[in-house]
Amino acid sequence: MVLKATRNEFFALMGEGARAHQARRRSEYELTLQGIEGETDVAAQERLVLQAIERRAQALVIVPADSNALLPVLLKALKAGLLLLNLDNKLDDRALATAGVNIPFVGPSNFLGSRTVGEYVAKQLPRGAAVGIIEGPPGSINAKSRSDGFRAAITAAGLRLAAVRSGFWTRELGHGAALELMRLAPDTKALLCGNDNMALGAVQALRELGRSADVLVSGYDNIPSIRPLIAQGTVLATVDQFPEKQAEYALDAVLNALQTGMRQADLPSIIQSPVKLVTRP
């Protein structure tokens, strides 16, 4: 299993879920769990895929750092005979269709999750209020999907989209994106963040600007670091995507396919995992 952003608590939990699964079913398979430190280090992730090919792994579960850029090396893995599953951040269907391959996606509907958190935030705002979106990297389908869910909630509630800035999933760049967004649109009343790390950066930015009291913040992922801020009300809401469950679903699907001799082309194209809105108790 190849993860990304191993310093991000979300993926640390995903890794724990994978290890726990392997511990329960250790007689059935061996697990090599690897990951890159950064969120978008495509080259490092490519090297890990090549290592898996050289190791003659039977199957590979990957959380791609980019929904398009990883595809060439993944096609090499398919050619080498690895069974391939895509976890959490969906590979771009447009590129998959061009390549003519089926790489199943195991993960949640980010659109539904973000629309739910967006609707929750919208209930606290008057019609016409300006809302900013801090999204993940432009090359990630789940970043775009979350922004689309936020937009759907903004439109349905009669709010106004102030601007969208990328925080590239990190606290530091989320902080910078929030500062820029508040400079561009000082009347912004809420920042909908595509993950919790960027929400933590946004909270810090609003503190520095003295705007914590009048600008709402929401996150996404329910990582341990965000939970105290949810409990205090500093962050209004987040979404739990159960990263441990995602890992379990993917590994169950891989084992089932290997044990029944299912071919890559015969795997179901989407295996959906749950999402849940998390607010102050």
Partner: protein, 271 residues
């Protein structure tokens, strides 16, 4: 909205079981595929309650060769988004790509290209690129790829839905510029002579997207049938009958999905 983990796991296992059960044997003769589509003249039309138009007729012709028949249900685009993920055995025709929807249904094959272009009334100020649209009131057809282009350029816009109202809204000066898909009959409505195309913003594709539980063998058949979208040379009579022969030729010439003869490629490079 969210399913408890146990239920979701059951659904995942059911999808696996369905895939296993349905993948045996070739695509059965006269198997029926349910197609969800939005009325979108001149491509998808309805006459005396019967769905038609070159998109539907072309798909019907392509899939008939594979032993598949179509049962077409017409509904608004937004209803397709909600219906398709919970309708096994169904596909949506001519859907635009949306990252959010890609997590709930599968984009199987390209069916047609779409040019996204900027339109204005003839007297509107000249603009040469997307950045220059920023100070103006913009109306844009409601497509995820277009939303992404415009927000990336910090351009505020009013989404237009249903899209049929687009030109009328521009003519009534509801906004200064319209961003829309380029359509063969765009300029054939009353008053359209006041409207001009300012520039083309991008080219994207329309897709056949299917319920994720569709049997893999059937998906492979659909992908194979759609290698040239709905613009295979064999479909020319359908487009001609619809009065869209020139549009068909233009798509075949310009769309990268259509294989080009070496001579044709050379002539396209020549001025």
């Amino acid at each position: 909205m969210s399913r408890p983990p146990r239920l979701a796991a059951r659904a995942a296992l059911a999808a696996l079981a369905a895939a296993l059960g349905l993948m045996s044997g070739p695509v059965a003769a006269r198997q029926e595929l349910r197609i969800l589509a939005e009325v979108d003249p001149p491509f998808v039309t309805v006459r005396d309650g019967v769905p038609g138009g070159p998109y539907i007729e072309s798909l019907r012709a392509l899939l008939a060769r594979e032993g598949l028949s179509l049962q077409v249900s017409l509904m608004p685009r937004r209803r397709i988004s909600v219906t398709l993920p919970v309708s096994p055995g169904s596909c949506g025709l001519a859907l635009n790509f949306s990252p959010g929807e890609a997590e709930t249904f599968s984009y199987v094959g390209r069916v047609a290209p779409v040019k996204l272009a900027v339109y204005a009334l003839r007297q509107a100020p000249r603009v040469g690129n997307i950045e220059e649209l920023r100070p103006y009131r913009i109306g844009a057809v409601d497509m995820a790829e277009l939303r992404d282009f415009l927000t990336a350029a910090d351009i505020a816009f009013e989404p237009i839905s249903p899209a049929a109202q687009r030109l009328g809204m521009l003519q009534r000066k509801r906004f200064d510029y319209l961003v829309s898909d380029d359509r063969p009959e765009m300029f054939e409505v009353e008053g359209a002579d006041q409207v001009r195309r300012v520039f083309v913003l991008a080219q994207v594709d329309r897709w056949l997207a299917c319920h994720p539980g569709l049997p893999p063998r059937l998906l492979a058949t659909l992908r194979q049938a759609l290698q040239e979208g709905l613009f295979a040379e064999s479909l020319r009579p359908i487009w001609d009958r619809a009065g869209l022969g020139r549009y068909f030729d233009r798509v075949r010439l310009e769309w990268e999905l259509i294989p080009k003869a070496a001579g044709a490629a050379a002539s396209r490079r020549s001025p």
